[in-house]
Amino acid sequence: MGRTRAAVSVFAAGTALVLAAATGCTAGHQKPTLTVWIMAGTHPDASAYFADANAAFTESTGADVTVEFIPWGDAHDKFITAIAGNTAPDVAEVGTTWTPEFAAVGALADLGDMGWHPGAHVPGLVEAGTVDGRLYGVPWHVAVRAVLYRTDVFEDLGLEPPRTWAQLRKVARTIADRRPELTAFPVAGGAEYPLLSFIWGAGGEIALQNPDGTWTSGLDSPEAREGIAFLTGLARHDGVSSTGAVTWQETDVQDNFTDERVAMAVLGSWAPKAILAANPDLRGRLAAFPIPGRDGGYSPSFLGGSHLSIFEGSREPDLARRYVQLLTGDEYGPRWAQETDYFPGRTDQLAAFTGSTDPLVGPFAVQLSEAGKGLPVTPAYGRVQGRKILTAMAQAILSGEDDVEGASTTAADRVTQTLNEDS
């Protein structure tokens, strides 16, 4: 037995040596290859973009690039199994809410020494990619939500895009009154980001970090409650939402908007393209406005988007860095934004969009640069989302199971507890 094992290990060692020698010989001839994961499902076919970018990369570095497209739905599981099994790619597009989570377990490389200028990128996204002062994700593209509305309905009723909450309420009530076949402003119980805008708009916070490092939720503060009460009140008291919307998710809002059953709704900057593709009849009848502030200005909207990150196990860290620089550079950064209807993550590239007169681009760009906001940056925030604490609160209020005070107290306790769990 002992002898067999020894023989096996000798054989293994011998094979390893031969293999090592063989790779040593061919290394001079074989091109190094980078593996890159790009998310798929929310933007149109990106193969042409990557064919060009990879050709340019091969030309300047001599290295090959293999791009794999991963559907968003499976991506989180795939990342985790890849991290655990040591099969992670060299470079990947990582959703901004996942970056702190993966960084905290040591899966991502520190990009701080790559000579980025933090000021050159959208601040909210830099913040989202920073853990303990180290940058783990370079902002690649940004997405944001604003209010999408039907210009034909507004013109028909003589309405103007609202600039305050009171005006928003009045406009919604007018539509509900005069166009009962439409849902004026659906308040979806399963969508957390529109709710966040109104909590932030009233001056509330989901959670703030204390000097000792622990977190305290602000969901039960008078400000947060004011925002929650306003939004849920639109559904409960003003009747501008619908009974079904209590259990709607954001995709249901978008589907009903596409079916011309909704007059205005908080939707993402990527939504108009998908809506128009599914219902070309709506062309020319859609526009957007930034989410109004309580007494003017804008209510903050969650800054979503993606980072480009480099995985810790990469065998070609220098090439990986150059590839990230290429994709976020002057040529391929704006081109990616243009082809996907996202916004570029660099402030200098973003300027071209804020001035846009396109009614489906300009307002989103204004929302993004004037009133974009990030979530609490802690790896534990993923668990707050996993426990669906905010949507559970919204649903309890919208279905009448609990009032604003009770539901927000429960939610605040759960957020505080979740963020302070050590594991």
């Binding site: 905290a104 399963g190 009974t243 668990r383 996993g386 199971e401």
Partner: protein, 324 residues
């Protein structure tokens, strides 16, 4: 064993310590052959069933998060996951009642409806029987995910058939009713879905049993003036009791661990905390919150509960002596 004076079959009758003769060697080798033949199947089952099972039990004694997945390190915490779970009022007031009450209603509904359909099928002529079985099997062949979405559409708040029916008859206003927010109406839909999906299996299995009951027994009972119910109760049921045992146990196991039928309903993936059952709770704890240890502990609890219930069933249905 070898020191006794028991005669070895075909070998020397008396021997204190039998020498390994050819016959005894063959006897020793014999048990190995079936094992060898079974080995491929056992290996596949060991890899696909036993290993994950053992892993889940081990996980349930650990504090296992994403960091552990990455580092591969184990952090054993003894019974901590279990004590935390069993002390959680959420388990006792929401998850366990949801799981158990739902399973009782669903198993009852499935078995009763399935038996009634089987009796109907038995009384039909071959051609019409084939047609009815074909229709019934469509419900069974439908994947759970598809079936669940159909039921969600039927009860859709704004456009569902149920809304249109109730609105048309004036029972419900234009604002509609959201059936998915309330725990009772939520589970009523799940029961409909699961009974609809599960009764064909019961019907076909019970029909197979019914066809084995000798016709003379029914004829004799009819001559004695027994009613239909009496004939079912005293002839059919005792004759095919094992068939009922099998369909009840299988339905119980399936209905205790329903997942897709709850998870895919609006609010069923966690935003309505009132409607989770053990299976969905385990999934959400493990994968949405990356607390794999707690999720595994819930799964182990569910398995233990199912084993206990199955044992009780077997005892009740067969009596203790038949079990052996």
């Amino acid at each position: 064993m070898a020191r006794t004076a028991v005669p070895v079959r075909g070998g020397p009758a008396v021997s204190v310590r039998p020498t390994p003769t050819r016959t005894s060697r063959r006897r020793h080798r014999a048990p190995l052959r079936p094992l060898l033949l079974l080995a491929p199947a056992l290996a596949v089952m060991g890899i696909l069933l036993l290993y994950p099972l053992v892993r889940v039990v081990l996980l349930s004694f650990q504090d296992y998060t994403l960091a552990n997945v990455v580092s591969g390190a184990s952090d054993y915490t003894g019974l901590r996951n279990y004590t935390l779970l069993l002390r959680d009022p959420y388990l006792w007031t929401v998850v366990l009642p949801n799981t158990v009450v739902f399973a009782i209603l669903a198993v009852g509904g499935t078995v009763v409806l399935g038996t009634l359909v089987a009796l109907l099928l038995q009384s039909l002529r071959p051609l019409s029987r084939t047609i009815v079985i074909g229709c019934v099997l469509v419900a069974w062949a439908m994947p759970a995910v598809t079936g669940t979405y159909v039921w969600i559409w039927i009860f859709d708040v704004d456009r569902g058939i149920v809304f249109q029916l109730l609105h048309g008859t004036g029972l419900l206003g234009a604002e509609g009713h959201n059936w998915f927010t309330d725990r009772v109406s939520f589970y009523a839909i799940v029961v409909l879905n699961v009974v609809h999906h599960g009764f064909p299996f019961v019907a076909v299995t019970v029909l197979a049993g019914l066809l084995t009951v000798p016709g003379e027994l029914h004829e004799a009972a009819r001559l004695d003036g027994a009613t239909a119910w009496q004939r079912f109760r005293h002839i059919t049921f005792p004759a095919i009791r094992p068939v009922f045992a099998v369909v009840t146990i299988l339905s119980t196991i399936w209905d205790f661990k329903v997942f897709a039928q709850v998870y895919l309903m609006p609010g069923g993936a966690g935003s309505n905390a009132q409607v989770l059952n053990l299976g969905v709770w385990s999934y959400i704890r493990s994968f949405a919150q990356q607390s794999y240890g707690t999720g595994a502990a819930i799964a182990v609890l569910l398995t233990a509960l199912l084993l206990a219930i199955t044992l009780v069933y077997l005892r009740v249905l067969f009596g203790s002596e038949e079990l052996r």
